[in-house]
């Protein structure tokens, strides 16, 4: 990327076709208005349930003294996990030189930004005293894993935003004069955000360099966010979380739900925005194979996570293992394992399954199973403490999420959907200049 800046693509015919195609769906359509209106109404309802929770306290949730973390923290882990895909697709695949992933680079960053931004929100929803959030910055203690988590997740959000925004700048400048069909305010926003981009070779040189630096920086940062998130559990003296496997187990699981999330967004971009020309069947085929790869890695870490304690059946971990394998959590545990790992591995090995619609359906199952998987990581361990649970109300023994708790969680998903929708619909969702550069290069290569 860095070697010699070639801005030949700017004069090519390719650029014009690509820009016209990609900018065509940009703007506010009727469907977009209805979709955003629907999400807003849903969000308002969820804000109401959050206000109820603030007034009455966390008693409105299913959490009690034994299971003191529930759906909120599980969903937080799920959000952080899903955001990791930005690093996998733009950074890892990009630095290796897999150029086929270029069209979905921006989609991956949009998913990363959306999920990373709202991961912090659901933590505030989980707090008993949300108004005391500033205390974390005023009295923060460096020993606390929460401090580490806030630091790395914020850094990741900033880096992901930069990796979304920097490659977008030339596209915003390219869009100038091609945006006749969009409202004036959007054109003016493009004008401002394009930072007076002039397409000089010097500018491109700086752009390439800075993107490359961020692509490298985000790799350790992305590994850190999910490793530290796994440490929120593994650092506690609790039998079920007492695992040195937790860091890689979480990171590998993150790639599975991240790739699934990207596939879902890809499907809707391809079908609703009519960008079949860029999100090709060949691309879906390759992303399908990528999902198989990450799911196989995750399967390996799952074997380590459950087979080893399951074989030993140590005194304090045995009750939980029994509950997971054959007891009261068996149904959701095996659903999470089969739906989230085995299903994509087996089905996506077949070429016919690596088509947009089957992949969408598989990805939705994978996403749901991945979310359930986080509940399975958080709840059973808390429900099986070292000392017996006695002399407390019967309802404290088991965790049953309540309606308000579920609604607040859905509210966070709604905000993510809104962020992703706005970024997908109002800005070029496929990198125009990168595609043009790619096409020009391939053309030249074939000519020689």
């Amino acid at each position: 990327m860095d070697k010699g800046v070639d801005t030949k693509f700017l004069e090519s015919r390719q650029l014009d076709t690509i820009a016209t195609d990609i900018l065509k769906p940009v703007g506010i359509s009727k469907g977009f208005m209805i979709w955003m209106g629907f999400l807003s109404v849903l969000l308002l309802a969820c804000i109401y349930t959050f206000i109820v929770q603030c007034e009455k306290g966390l008693i409105v949730t299913g959490m009690r003294d034994y299971v003191s973390w529930g759906m909120y923290i599980s969903t937080f882990v799920f959000f952080v996990a899903s955001s990791l895909v930005g690093m996998l697709i733009t950074s890892v695949l990009g630095l290796i030189g897999y150029n086929w992933a270029k069209p979905i680079g921006r989609i991956a960053e949009i998913v990363a930004v959306g999920f990373a931004a709202i991961a912090g929100v659901i933590i505030v929803v989980d707090m008993g005293r949300p108004e005391r959030l500033p205390f974390v910055f005023m009295y923060g203690r460096i020993q606390s894993p929460i401090f580490w988590d806030i630091t790395v997740v914020t850094t990741y959000l900033v880096l992901s935003l930069l990796l979304y925004f920097l490659p977008l700048i030339p596209d915003l400048a390219i869009a100038k004069g091609r945006m006749g069909h969009t409202p004036r305010w959007l054109q003016r926003t493009y004008q401002t955000l394009s930072l007076n981009w002039k397409h000089t070779p010097e500018q491109y040189k700086i752009l390439f360099r800075s993107i490359r630096i961020f692509l490298i920086l985000i790799i350790p940062n992305a590994l850190a966010i999910h490793t530290v998130t796994s440490w929120l559990f593994a650092l506690n003296p609790r039998a079920g979380w007492d695992s040195t496997n937790f860091g890689p187990y979480f990171v590998s699981g993150a790639f599975v739900c991240g790739v699934a999330a990207v596939i879902v967004v890809m499907y809707f971009v391809r079908n609703s925005l009519k960008l079949e020309k860029y999100l090709t069947l060949d691309l879906f085929d390759k992303v399908g194979k990528l999902l198989v790869l990450v799911a196989i890695i995750y399967l390996y870490f799952n074997l380590n996570e459950f087979l080893v304690p399951g074989y030993k059946m140590a005194k304090f971990s045995a009750p939980e293992i029994n509950e997971l394998f054959t007891g009261k959590y068996a149904l959701i545990f095996w659903f999470a394992e089969f739906g989230g790992i085995i299903l994509p591995i087996v089905l996506l090995l077949f070429r016919q399954m690596r088509k947009p619609l089957p992949m969408l359906l598989i990805s939705i199952v994978v996403l749901f199973a991945s979310w359930v998987k986080r509940l399975i990581i958080v709840v059973p361990t808390l429900a099986n403490p070292y000392l017996p649970k006695e002399f407390v109300p019967h309802t404290w023994m088991v965790y049953k999420p309540t309606f308000i708790e579920t609604a607040n969680t859905i509210g966070c998903f709604v905000i993510i959907a809104m962020i992703i929708s706005v970024l997908v619909k109002l800005f070029p969702v496929i990198p125009i200049w990168e595609m043009a550069e790619e096409k020009t290069k391939t053309e030249e290569d074939t000519r020689h």
Partner: protein, 314 residues
């Protein structure tokens, strides 16, 4: 001597005497006045003996003593510092507990808790199916390597110099990380308004008593720090009818039984009875000692206790 001379002499004398007396009065008055002023400004030489926080007996002039108003700042400062020179410790004799739960009741009434909200509770413990069960009072273990304190993001829960682990509910953000970190399940959370919320509203917050309790924050066993400050035994220790608890200072190597008020050597008590810590293999270094439950002659709690479940009175 003529009359005139006499007259003159007399007048002169008169003036002389007058000025002498007048000068004397003025000087005397001034002396008296300055003396009075001096006496007024002189410090009071009445001293009183005062015992400082670090157990030193000192004398201070009576007039320099000022009464300190008990406000939150002062309560917080002394609550976070702790009682200097002490290392409080607790010995729980499991062979004596008959599950009277008087300790639980005393604690709940002192700290304004509901009947199922525990700073201290008793548990029915059974190691194996074929060994008799025993009752185990379980307060916070006030670990010397407390996992809960390590993970707290805002320094709301802290370890004092006298060994007590406290929670400051004016600082707590309610993230419940400490609950996840505590292997003894010693911490509870106010999921709803505390039971005496209205009654306690407006009281200055005492971190050593954790009153007023607050919704959305953690509460836990405080080793009755407010009682220790007054030189008294903790609420639960004094309430026990079965001589289960010994409480004292590790630095003095002696502990006092809360029921019989008998004071014994701590090291001797632990040595003779085989004192141990609860789950010390976790590396938490608990401050609370347990004496083994020998001579167990209680009824089996029934099959439901075998798998760890037993719903008690609520």
């Amino acid at each position: 001597m003529n009359k005139k001379d006499d007259m003159i002499g007399t007048r002169r004398d008169f003036f002389k005497k007058f000025s002498l007396i007048g000068g004397g009065i003025a000087a005397g008055g001034a002396a008296l006045y300055s003396g009075y002023n001096y006496e007024q400004s002189k410090p009071d030489h009445n001293y009183v003996k005062v015992l400082t926080a670090d157990n030193k007996l000192v004398e201070v002039p009576k007039d320099s003593i000022r009464e300190v108003k008990v406000d939150v700042t002062m309560l917080q400062k002394r609550g976070r510092e702790g009682l200097k020179g002490h290392r409080w410790t607790w010995v729980i004799d499991l062979s004596r507990c008959k599950n009277a739960r008087k300790c639980v009741e005393a604690c709940q009434s002192a700290h304004h808790l509901r009947p199922y909200e525990y700073h201290i509770t008793t548990l029915i413990m059974q190691q194996r199916v074929d060994t008799p069960a025993y009752f185990m009072p379980k307060p916070c273990q006030h670990c010397d390597n407390p996992p809960c304190v390590e993970v707290c993001p805002v320094n709301a829960t802290f370890k004092r110099q006298d060994g007590v682990v406290l929670i400051d509910n004016e600082r707590c953000i309610g993230c419940r990380f400490c609950m996840a970190a505590c292997p003894y399940s010693a911490r509870i959370f106010h999921w709803e308004d505390p039971v005496k919320e209205e009654e306690d509203r407006g009281k200055p917050y005492n971190v050593e008593l954790n009153i007023p309790q607050r919704k959305g924050t953690i509460t836990k066993c405080l080793m009755s720090s407010d009682r220790l400050r007054e030189g008294k035994l903790p609420y639960c220790v004094s309430a026990c009818p079965n001589s289960v608890y010994y409480f004292g200072d590790e630095n003095e190597d002696c502990v006092t039984n809360g029921t019989t008020k008998e004071t014994v050597r701590l090291s001797e008590l632990l040595k003779v009875n085989g004192g141990y810590h609860l789950m010390e293999e976790l590396g938490t270094k608990p401050r609370i000692y347990y004496l083994p439950p020998k001579n167990r002659n209680y009824d089996f709690p029934g099959p439901e206790a075998e798998n760890g479940y037993k719903e008690g009175k609520t």
